[in-house]
């Protein structure tokens, strides 16, 4: 499903080169629920950006469903993100002036799908927000906002859900609810990668990849 082979990433800060990832190799199988943990500066954000096709590795190979992603250009990457990856962010990243429904429809606009409304309503219902579709993000509680974001991630039937600290802005009770949604999705066969620094959250996943100094310390 997802295969990283000796991935490195080097950032240039003026004259000096700062390595963020130093040879990451791992596989994530279809239907797996994996967490990536590590202290800040360990390279987990960089790794997530590469897995999410937002960034390209400096060297190494990345195959997503057999596609050699590291060879694609910007437009092709945009298409991959649109069709194959669903993002869930710590700060939700909803468009504040538009309704929950319009937020969920957004990826469908870029994929040129028809019957967008119907599809968006369907996923909103699946995350339990059928009654809140016309509300704007500011009118929704944090947990509800994150559910809208999850619905948006799901709307294009992606192969992979990539969640970056999805419970970082939520209280314990709400975090549990959100994690239960991820768990349900996993039980339905969705591949999920969670980036977090909270062991509690990592505990929901089957496998944890521990990063330290741009390398995989442990994978268990």
């Amino acid at each position: 499903m997802l295969e990283l082979e000796n991935i490195t990433k080097v950032y240039k800060a003026g004259q000096t080169e700062v390595p963020a990832l130093r040879g990451i190799s791992c596989r994530i199988e279809s239907g797996e629920m994996v967490s990536i943990i590590g202290p800040s500066g360990s390279g987990k954000s960089t790794l997530m950006n590469i897995i999410g096709c937002l960034d390209k590795p400096t060297s190494g190979k990345y195959r997503l469903e057999g596609i050699e992603v590291d060879r694609l250009n910007d437009n092709q990457l945009a298409e991959i993100r649109n069709k194959k990856i669903g993002f869930v962010f710590q700060s939700f990243n909803l468009l504040s002036r538009t309704t929950a429904l319009a937020n969920v429809e957004l990826p469908l606009i870029y994929s040129g799908a028809s019957n967008r409304r119907q599809r968006a309503l369907q996923v909103l219902e699946s995350v339990g927000l059928a009654h809140r579709v016309t509300h704007r993000p500011s009118e929704l509680a944090g947990g509800e906002q994150q559910r809208v974001a999850i619905a948006r991630a799901l709307v294009n039937n992606p192969s992979l859900i990539l969640a970056d600290e999805p419970t970082g802005n939520l209280d314990t009770q709400t975090s549990r609810e959100i994690m239960l949604i991820f768990k349900q999705l996993h039980e339905q066969g969705m591949t999920i990668v969670l980036v977090t620094h909270e062991p509690d959250i990592a505990a929901y996943t089957q496998r944890t990849i521990k990063l330290r100094d741009g390398q995989i310390e442990a994978s268990e």
């Binding site: 437009n75 945009a78 298409e79 993100r81 649109n82 990243n93 468009l95 870029y110």
Partner: protein, 411 residues
Amino acid sequence: MKLWDCFSTALRALLGNKMRSALTMLGILIGVAAVIAVLSLGSAQGALVEESFATLGANLIYVMPREAGVMGAGVGEATLTVGDAEAIARHAPSVARVAPTAQTYALVIAGREKLNSLIAGVTPEAEWVDNYAVARGSFITESDDRARSRVAVLGSEVAETLFGQMDPTGQSIRIGGRQFQVIGVLESRGTGFGVEDLRVYVPLSTFYSTLAASQAGSSGNTIDSISVQVGSSDGLESAMEEITAILQDRHRIREGEGDDFRVISMEAMAVQVTQVMGILQLVLAGIAGISLLVGGIGIMNIMLVSVTERIREIGLRKAVGAKRRDILIQFLVEAATLGLCGGALGVCLGWIIVKIMSVIATNAGFAFAATLPGYAIALAVSVAIFIGLITGLYPAIRAARLDPIESLRHE
């Protein structure tokens, strides 16, 4: 991304900030309004000149004292006399007809209605030379002039003011305290450079015997203007030279001295008016240019602010699959929509300005049929959209080039 989606996204963004969008449109709005006014005035000017030629004839020459205004109403020293008019009629071979006019203001009373009106003393030739059309009754005749009859012909507006819907012919009126009989009413001209509708016409001889005496300091035979009809338009140049020579001789104007009169053809008057309107158009065009430039800068400025404010939104859009092109188009459409709305409102404002100017000009005695040609609307709105696109391009390119990772992290 489909075009309609771009458009609805742009509209939503603009409506989300109504005040700012409205203010941003203002520059384009004023610029387009000025463009509309320029184009509309251009069409009105052409029509005005054409119509003046049609109603007054191209082979007409006016002779006026040097200080006189364009309208022919005496404002300076009267230097022309009836003798000058007679000399032109007798000695200028290219001239067909001569119609001298003397004018003064006097109180006109009909029953209870009073009106301080311009009284014109004219000869029967005026009907032909100045091309007056009689709506009711008749114009002043040879015998009226010879007998110094107390008869008057009313301009259409004067007739309406004094008599309303009633037929004034045969009625008595008092002009400057003396009794006159109305023998005719002119058809409304509502056009040309003159004040024809606003005057009362009396025989020139009667004018001197009754009204001119009350005119302080006037010495009997002075007149305010002479209208000269040339036999054929080919003779226009030679007629003007003949008239100038005759008057210089009569007024004893030596070589090198300035004339105390002006000889001006209808054509030259049309040119004068065209020049005045040309300057007006130039000023408006300048306003249009500057406003459009400032409006364009305004759009660019606001679009740059908008891009900066929405960096996270751009990052998010890219993360969920927006290509560079999609972001570029989104912001371009937004800028173009600002231009379009400003342009559309500008057309409305421009049309209102033209309407107001028409009313003012009509009241001042100009025929002013300003129209708003379809091409003018299309041109103005296209220019507005074009400016939106041009000035929106740089902000849109900046938005499209944003890196999704950094944008998502942006606070």
